[in-house]
Symmetry: C2
Subunit: 279 residues, 2 copies
């Protein structure tokens, strides 16, 4: 590791390394935390960027998803960024769990205060992406995530299909412009400019012609308590059909929104990305 | 579920169910929390009791060990009790993380105040054991655990070999009478009566002739920061040799004390117990 990227903790896992880092981000203008798992041997075939959900940090996926075993088998690394800048004191930033800290929504904000730091879109697409190559010497990257992070994976993957070899999501917010979480966050990050909102909505992007060459993999629990009000998986299925985007959307009977669900199907997602990264 | 045992949360996992419960314990005289994973099909071949370590609750193993996949494959259930009674206000109970709440050490205390509630040995051996049969209709039981819970598994397994088909541990405190954690806890729970202490020390039990018919499986990380001062794995190896207890003690190069280590080897432990429970 060079420069200001600093390892905070290292845990050997499945013969590879689960590590927690901090670095000075040029994009957010703050320190940022991220975690990685690197498989044994030190020469991964590719990297999965995992975007986490509301209230999460860079730790949840590493501790709870049980992905390390399957990443080690597939010779892939994963990098998990934090879900927002930290250590700031912006207006309303720490007042609720679905806006501000822990809730960056993977957009570049345009509202005062937020526009200087809440630049999570550029942070992922530019800085984290480059860091995978510069710090870990891995050139091929795919993207996945959970809930708000599923929204991030879908929107980033559709907007930047050349950079991300494959895209998947668990329990994603597929149509944020239509649901309470998205309306609140986008109002806070963009104000009322609906054109900005639509550039960060997977359904709107599909209907506007954005597309990924590979099928998109989605797993969703049928008993997810956020399904009807916030996630709206059926809107994504419809948008894929109308736009011709190939997708595998699995409605998993009886599963909820938790990492107990993610852990059940993470092996499928790792293998899905491995098939596309290992070529 | 009958009587006062109440399900608090249910998460479908690997086609089985991860559940969190509370019940009124007749042994501790308090409400107690525990968690279970039951494999798909609802007819497990046996049950593993998992005892957790210092500061843990009934949640850590379920969220972090990644055991559900392997339990489902082996058709075993697991039950994870909490690490102490809760909701009390005993002297010194909440002042440190290695004594009192979150640190019951799987003993029946004899000191004033504690002797009325801190009866974790009887709680595990009698009440939880019976509950596995009465509430889940499972008759065969094995035992495992981590750190303080590894101590619990070894001492309970050696004292009650007829009740527990097999015994394993991760990073166990094998010789508590010799180390700071054990001395502090046993002083608090027993006072200065060294005979009491020795009845809850795996090395002392082996040297006093206690034995399990099956080999005991232990995994220990070589980079565990507690190894030299608190765990003393080598004392267990020596006590097994001297007493003729069969054991498989694996020193795992580079691994630490965390659940990242447990998750790496939990599949081995599930299979070890499955071989003995499925016969």
């Amino acid at each position: 590791m060079t420069g200001k990227t600093k390892a905070l903790k290292t845990h050997k896992s499945f013969e590879g390394l689960t590590r927690f880092w901090e670095h000075d981000s040029r994009v957010t203008g703050t320190k940022m935390n991220f975690s990685t798992f690197t498989p044994p041997g030190g020469k991964p075939n590719g990297c999965l960027i995992w975007l986490s959900g509301l209230t999460c940090t860079d730790e949840n996926f590493m501790a709870k998803a049980g992905a390390q075993k399957f990443l080690a088998e597939a010779n892939l690394m994963v990098i998990c960024p934090d879900t927002s800048p930290r250590g700031l004191q912006l207006p309303q930033e720490h007042e609720s769990w679905d806006f501000g800290s822990g809730a960056g929504f993977y957009v570049d904000a345009t509202t005062p205060g937020y526009r200087d730091h809440y630049r999570m879109y550029s942070y992922i697409v530019d800085e984290v992406y480059q860091l995978v190559e510069s710090e870990f010497s891995v050139g091929k990257v795919s993207i996945s995530g959970h809930s708000m992070g599923g929204h991030g994976a879908l929107t980033i993957g559709l907007r930047e299909p050349a950079k991300f070899k494959s895209v998947s999501a668990f329990s994603p917010i597929v149509n944020p412009v239509e649901v309470p979480w998205g309306k609140k966050a986008f109002t806070g990050y963009f104000g009322s400019d609906q054109q900005k909102w639509k550039q960060h909505d997977a359904c709107e992007l599909l209907l506007a012609g954005k597309k990924h060459a590979e099928p998109i993999l989605v797993d969703q629990g049928s008993e997810d308590s956020f399904l009807k009000e916030q996630l709206r998986t059926e809107n994504f299925v419809r948008a894929c059909e109308r736009s011709g985007q190939k997708a595998h959307v699995h409605m998993r009977d009886g599963y909820d929104h938790s990492y107990y669900f993610v852990s059940t199907y993470i092996a499928d997602h790792v293998r899905f990305h491995a098939e596309r990264l290992n070529t």
